[in-house]
Symmetry: none
Subunit: 197 residues, 4 copies
């Protein structure tokens, strides 16, 4: 009835999927996952209700797909960002790039933080969602070890919490003075020489 080449089909599929995921991310960020309706998303993405179910088995599936893809983006950005020189430079780069990534994927992080604090859902999210915590934690610890921090384990936890806290305040508060806080953060955590301290 509607003949098209296989390739054209594939392109359409990808375009539709992309449109849906982008629309869903925007709606989830604005209204929260629970309060977003499938109809809202379909309408925002200019896609029919039924089409969504061709690509995603459920609302939750759609969320998972979004998280997965965004997490991959984030991971890629992170590994790009962490190539440079000394331990101190790498740690500084890690912190700074975190906030660059945050700014680039603002909608996603809004969703991320609202999901993380919603019990009962995060358990069903993809592994990458959970493992992100321990991954960043491990990397921080490694850098702090390299810097000869006397207690790299606890310091890594602390630094991670700090980054996480600043990130959230930055997202939830309009006019958050990110620049100043970031300066202060780097001064506090990297301004001292752990060897002589």
């Amino acid at each position: 009835m509607c003949p098209r080449t296989a390739k054209a089909y594939e392109a359409l599929r990808e375009a539709s999927k992309e449109k849906i995921m982008q629309a869903a991310l925007e709606i989830f960020a604005r209204y929260g996952f629970e309060k977003s309706s499938i109809r809202q998303i379909a309408s925002h993405g200019e896609v029919s209700l039924g089409l969504m179910y061709n690509y995603f088995n459920s609302k939750e599936d759609l969320l998972i797909a979004i998280c997965q893809r965004s997490m991959e983006d984030v991971a890629a950005s992170f590994s790009e960002a962490n190539q440079a020189g000394t331990a101190k430079e790498k740690l500084e780069r890690l912190v700074k790039s975190s906030f660059e990534i945050l700014a680039e994927h603002r909608d996603f992080w809004q969703v991320f933080y609202s999901l993380r604090s919603q019990p009962g859902l995060k358990e069903r999210l993809p592994e990458s969602f959970i493992s992100w915590h321990s991954a960043i934690q491990a990397q921080l610890k490694a850098y702090l070890s390299e810097l000869q921090h006397p207690n790299p384990e606890a310091a890594a936890w602390l630094l991670f919490a700090t980054i996480d806290g600043v990130a959230q305040h930055n997202i939830w508060e309009s006019n958050y003075p990110l620049e100043h806080v970031l300066d202060e953060l780097l001064k506090t955590y990297l301004g001292v020489d752990y060897v002589t301290a």
Copy 2:
């Protein structure tokens, strides 16, 4: 003419209200506000579905009542905690008491954090819920000023974010090494002498 005394009614009312609020707090903490149903709360509190509406005008009203009461408890605990000596001691006490309060009102803070990251609801919560941020922020800044911190504003933001971040990690992660992280936190923020630094 000879019904229960007014006092007996008052006691009944208070008992029921308390039962409902406690049940609701537990359910909200476990499943999140949106995903908690009135039926769940009623059943968990072993009261009838409709009883809630004798005391609270709506599900949201119930949430607000819980937040209000918890916030009052928290504020009382905080002001108790901040009487002590030097600026350094007061700051240390503030940080430590924060985590004591967190432990004492675990369920409430779980709800608090999940609400804070939910767009569209926090706007309708009581003023105390919103002003808590700036209140604690102001106090931190005052203490850091007293300690002669060169940049008390930014440092207060940073310390607040750190406390917030640690609090959340402590809530969401089982087996969070709070003791060690807290030690590290105090060492990092209070172990230096800002005047000579």
Copy 3:
């Protein structure tokens, strides 16, 4: 516990019953039977919820009691009103007294008309509620017969419908020109001499 003389009890009973019925009639008239709640009535009558159920078995029972008593009042007023002279005078008196009774029991008639047009309820109302129709109809027919109307049966139906229609318009429309319409009514139905017509 609460000793009182039998007589004092009876007085209390009657006073309470009266208060409840009056309150209910006012609420029913203002909001309609379905939309009036038992709580509204209790509160309006300054009586406890439970007390109402000492006197009336249900909301519907209360309505029935009100209708019964009001109908008795109305019937009494009617029989008082219809003693006078010639057929023409009696008919005129009947029509006029109808509207006097309407004005005196405005709340009741509001309820009456809203119930009459509500299917499913009027069937369960007391007999007097139903028989009122045929009673007035019969009386009108008798008077018209006396006046030698060529078709007293149909004319009675018509006159009754007219009275009923005017009564309702008078109740539902504010500023209804009842005086003028009533004049016109009497002129139309009584201004002709059926014998010579």
Copy 4:
């Protein structure tokens, strides 16, 4: 790409809307608006409970849609009916066609009359619902003026009330002798020559 055609969808929509409106009208007429439940309507119309909300925003919206459409039908029938010759003929035609329309839309008029006497609802019904009164009133007055009635204003009110009263008696009473009453009505209001009277 190859779903149903737009026209096929439109047909489906119209069929469902029609089914729902018809079912609702019947249920509203039988039980009254307040006592009719959405589930009753859905079940009577053999559609799902939720389907109604695809087409109507609320139960009240459904009522409004029904009233609007019925009122349009009624208005069309009326304007068809009022083309004829002399004033007397036109007035006679107006009265007669009123009762033809009543018979054709029995269910609607039952609903109409029960709504009109229900406080608090009629205010939210469409304008046409309210203005119908004054429209018919004005027309009656115009005809009576043409007939040289000495007091066309009051007579129009009276005639309208009569028509209204007869219509209601005809609806609420089974075996109402409409023919005879209608004859009597026409004789009473049109059998006299106002000029010489």
